[in-house]
């Protein structure tokens, strides 16, 4: 039964696959060279990259600007998706838990800021934005633990349906309860404090110079993008540190073989719960930032389909690898906006692309090195199993 596997590859698929293999080699070669560079060079290049990222809304790089829709706004959305992917990566990529209801955490974060910050919500006590954000993170962490406590003892596939159910329950609560104003939603979500320095002469969309006026307003999307980008960078740094710490190694052990990890003295339940809580916190933060920018949130933004798309972003990009999940998030959020001219065919093409990418590169576009090795091992085992 192995013959089919060993047949010489022919045709387009084969050319594509070989091309992709070469690309992957080039990427891994680059990565090698990158880590061989002197530290000073690496830091310098990173700083340059970060500067470019912050300046992106004002850079006229041909080809990447969206034509039909505001580029800065799209960048903001992309940043939010990257934040979501980084958070979900902790759960799916690092701890190996399948969470199909991640949008529930996003919604909890968004609603917390809206409910505790907006004058239009049924809750009487109001907090400024700076207080709302920690509340949002704390509440989503709690909701992550509340969900994880009973369900993390379940096996992987069961977790999928239970998390899916969690996402649906959050959506139903958002749609039908009074504290969320139902589908009418909550407007007037607070924004961060601060003013533009008075010397800024850039013109806002209302035609007046921005200098001296509120930094965060609908007149300019850039500050929101900068805020989201800062959050992304900080969270990436944090997750990176976690990944290389004792916690990260514990997650790895639990992901590879839970029983073995348990025997070696890794309390797997506790670490899985931590992964859930941290992932939830990042999801909540992204929701909170999203609601802040929109100044409005309602249940229409809480869709299970979107939640499943998040998982697709993580896996397609390369679960377990920060760069990979970033690429995945950019693909699912940026491409549909960039290629609006395909209009109604966008999601059809997206579905085809999902299948194609996964068949050619099950380890994701930018795989985590360790995961790629795992997959290669499994593929070697395959013939006995087919």
């Amino acid at each position: 039964m192995t013959q089919t596997n060993d047949k010489p590859r022919v045709g387009v698929t084969d050319t594509l696959r070989r091309f992709d293999d070469r690309r992957a080699e080039a990427v891994s070669g680059l990565r090698q060279r990158w880590s061989d560079l002197p530290r000073a060079w690496r830091v310098g290049a990173l700083v340059a990259l970060i500067v470019v990222l912050y300046a992106l809304p004002d850079l006229a790089i041909p080809g990447i600007r969206t034509t039909e829709t505001d580029f800065t706004g799209v960048l903001f959305l992309v940043a939010i998706y990257v934040l979501i992917a980084v958070g979900l990566n902790v759960v799916v990529g690092l701890a190996g838990l399948l969470d199909l209801g991640y949008i529930g955490f996003f919604a909890v974060g968004a609603y917390t800021v809206a409910i505790f910050g907006s004058p239009n919500s049924p809750v009487v006590i109001k907090f400024p934005w700076l207080v709302c954000i920690p509340i949002a993170i704390a509440l989503t962490m709690i909701s992550g633990v509340l969900l994880g406590w009973p369900t993390l003892r379940l096996r992987g596939d069961y977790l999928a349906i239970v998390t899916l159910g969690f996402g649906e329950i959050i959506r139903l609560i958002a749609t039908n309860s009074t504290i969320t104003n139902g589908n009418r939603g909550i407007a007037g979500v607070p924004v961060p404090p601060g003013n533009w320095p008075s010397f800024v002469q850039t013109i806002g969309i209302d035609g007046e110079p921005l200098g001296g006026r509120a930094l965060f307003s609908i007149n300019d999307t850039r500050p929101f993008y900068w805020l989201a980008l800062t959050a992304v960078l900080l969270c990436m740094y944090g997750v990176r540190r976690l990944e290389n710490s004792r916690v990260g190694r514990a997650w790895l052990a639990v992901r590879e073989d839970e029983d073995a990890a348990e025997i070696m003295g890794v309390p797997s339940f506790r670490f899985k719960l931590w992964a859930f809580a941290i992932g939830a916190a990042l999801g909540g933060l992204s929701g909170a930032l999203f609601a802040t920018h929109n100044t409005f949130f309602n249940a229409e933004s809480v869709l299970l389909q979107t939640s499943i798309l998040y998982v697709a972003a993580v896996v397609v990009g390369g679960a377990g690898n920060l760069l990979g999940v970033t690429v995945g998030a950019i693909i699912i959020s940026y491409l549909p906006e960039r290629f609006r001219e395909f209009a109604d065919y966008r999601y059809l093409l997206f579905g085809l692309a999902l299948i194609a990418v996964m068949i050619f590169r099950p380890q994701g576009i930018v795989p985590s090195r360790r995961r790629a090795v795992e997959l290669a091992d499994r593929a070697k085992e395959a013939p006995t199993n087919v």
């Binding site: 061989d36 560079l37 006229a60 505001d70 706004g73 139902g182 949130f297 309602n298 229409e300």
Partner: protein, 385 residues
Amino acid sequence: MRQRLVRVVGVSALAAAMVAGAAACASSNSGGTAGKNCGQKIAFFGALTGGNAILGINIRDGAKLAINQYNAKNKNCTVELVEKDSEGSPEKAPPLATAVASDPKILGVIGPAFSSESKVANPIFSSAGVVILTASATDPTLAARGWKTFHRGLGNDASQGPAAARYMKDTLKAQKVYVIDDASDYGKGLAEQVKTALGSAVIGSDVIQEKQVDFSALVAKIQAANPDAVFHGGYVREGAPFLKQLRGAGVKAKYVAGDGVKTDDLISGAGKDAAEGSVLTCPCVPGDKLGGSFPTDYKAVSGGRAPGTYSAEAYDAANILLKGIGAGNTTRAKLNDFVNKYEGQGITTKFKFQANGELDPNSVAVWAYTVKDGQIVPDKEIPKA
């Protein structure tokens, strides 16, 4: 090897710096058009793809017809329709709205089509002075948010709900009414207005879910309650299967619904027999009362589809903006003043806006339609209280 990477990094950093420099020039938009002050644009804002596309397409085609007619008359100074497909989602709306706001040639917007996308897009339009003229978003609270360029070219839910209630009480003589809604912004708002207006005549109410298809439990409940009429605040998507199953179970109660259900999809979804006799209220004027050739002209633009819900409203809304542009109001501020002061007869109603952007109450005509022999036909204008 290492040196090559160093070079690559260095070159790209340099390139980035150069691009950044160039950007400063690129971002300043040169809006120079040759000769006369022409080339103004009107934007359509709403769903053209996705599950809610049909409503957006109705509106887009109505606006497109108006623009085509205008351009045929003003060949040397045409107006362009820019289509912004929001997919009806509040998530996609803000960057699209910003794109509209930062194109100085776009003076006005037909839309946003839905109430929830309005809540994120309208602050942006309002801040940039883009004239908002919606032909379909009927959430009453939209007018109360202080958006200075907001206008609504039709009655809101607060006018439709009580009218529907009056119709049930006075014309249908319904003593017992069962009210359902779909928990949507629109459906819930409408159902609440009806409940308030009907008071004790409401014998029961329930909430259905958007995209729900199977209503057997609800139908059983309604059957047990045996009402004279069932009011449904929501859209045809749920209305058609609900009505079909209601009739299938042999419930004879009159089915009354708002404009979200007033499309031929009700008949094609529920079937002629089930839909027969249903009452649909709408703050819109019947098609045969519409000015002359609109239905036939519309088909030429829409590729053969008859005017749907809000097509005529969109046509009127676009015409108002076009009249303003034609009269030389070629800045956003001037166009906004024009619309604020506008008074004139459209094909749906007589337009005159209040200070908050709502249509003058005297212009709001709520009509009752019924389904007769598989056609939605106008019954009568529901008298004002």
